[in-house]
């Protein structure tokens, strides 16, 4: 039985895994599970979160020999998580499985009230959560997989173009163009529902 230090560094754990100690991967899984879940939860539907989180760690395991310590394991894993979510949507859109729910009259009514009574926090707090999520899903479902990911990362999450490009593995120029287009598409969508 090899004598392992109590709190080994990521690099040490990775070295062990590459040397054939598969069980050491559990250290990495436990250490980064919350981080991966946080990313995955935001990008894929709730019922797919567990499956996607598994997929992220399986991909990370398979790609471990290519890991370079430059940006750190956490950053590297984030990138795998984001790309896995992107692949999920690409597959979904290709097989046309994305449900195109429509906005009901209730949603429009909710939106009108929310935008009119922003100062009324009680109404705002009570009603916004469920309706806002449905509104967000409604808008995102109408975008392509690329637009969707860029919009989530740049417009909603507030990442810089460079950060989003690093996570998606795209060029900064591509992210910039996609970001502009997806925002325009979103605006066009919202124009139809925002009460004037």
């Amino acid at each position: 039985m090899p004598n392992h230090p109590r709190n080994p560094s990521d690099a040490e754990i990775i070295r062990r895994i590459i040397d054939g100690d598969v069980n050491s991967f559990e250290h990495l899984l436990r250490k980064y599970q919350d981080h991966v879940l946080r990313i995955v939860k935001k990008h894929v539907p709730f019922q797919e979160v567990e499956e996607m989180a598994q997929e992220v760690f399986v991909r990370a395991y398979q790609a471990l020999p290519g890991f370079k310590e430059e940006g750190g394991f956490r950053q590297w894993l984030s990138s795998i998580a984001v790309r896995t979510c992107y692949d999920f949507w690409r597959k979904r859109y290709r097989s046309r499985e994305v449900p195109m729910s429509d906005l009901s009259e209730n949603h429009r009514e909710w939106l009108e009230k929310t935008l009119s009574y922003q100062s009324d926090t009680s109404f705002y707090e009570k009603s916004r959560e469920k309706e806002a999520k449905e509104m967000l899903d409604w808008a995102l479902d109408r975008l392509s997989a690329q637009d969707r990911m860029v919009l989530e990362l740049v417009y909603l999450e507030g990442l810089s173009v460079k950060e989003a490009a690093g996570l998606l593995g795209w060029s900064a120029a591509k992210v910039k163009v996609r970001s502009f287009r997806s925002r325009k598409k979103l605006e066009t969508l919202l124009k139809r529902v925002i009460p004037t």
Binding site: I17, I18, G20, D21, V22, N23, F25, E26, L29, R30, Q33, L37, R38, K41, K42, F46, V49, E50, E51, A53, Q54, F57, V58, Y61, Q62, L64, P65, G66, L111, T114, L115, Q118, R128, E129, A132, K133, M135, L136, A139, E152, Y155, L156, E157, G158, E187, L190, I194, T196
Partner: protein
């Protein structure tokens, strides 16, 4: 117009909060066990994977340079007239008795 812009911003705030609100959804614990099961089923990372990794990381990066080279060579091939060589070849094949290679170069 200003009012509309204000409404967009308000809606953006709402959508952002809905987006970050997704983080708080609870998921079960079983997925970690399943993930480790899948990883154990894969077994130790094969050392042969390094070759493919090398291929993926470096060889594909040479693709643009390779494409440019192919384009240059194709252009050169079209620029150089290869018809005379073809004619020499057909002459040698079809008329072997009367024409030798040395005679051809006398022209």
């Amino acid at each position: 117009m200003k009012n509309l812009q204000h409404r967009y911003e308000a809606l953006r705030t709402i959508l952002r909060e809905a987006y970050f609100g997704k983080e708080h959804v609870e998921v079960g614990e079983q997925w970690q066990v399943n993930a480790m099961r899948r990883i154990r089923a894969l077994g130790p990372i094969p050392s042969g994977a390094n070759f493919f990794l090398f291929f993926e990381q470096f060889v594909w990066r040479l693709t643009p340079a390779t494409c440019i080279l192919i384009f240059i060579f194709a252009a050169l091939l079209f620029k150089l007239d290869f018809t005379p060589e073809y004619e020499v070849f057909t002459s040698l094949i079809c008329d072997t008795e009367e024409l030798s290679l040395a005679q051809l170069f006398e022209f």
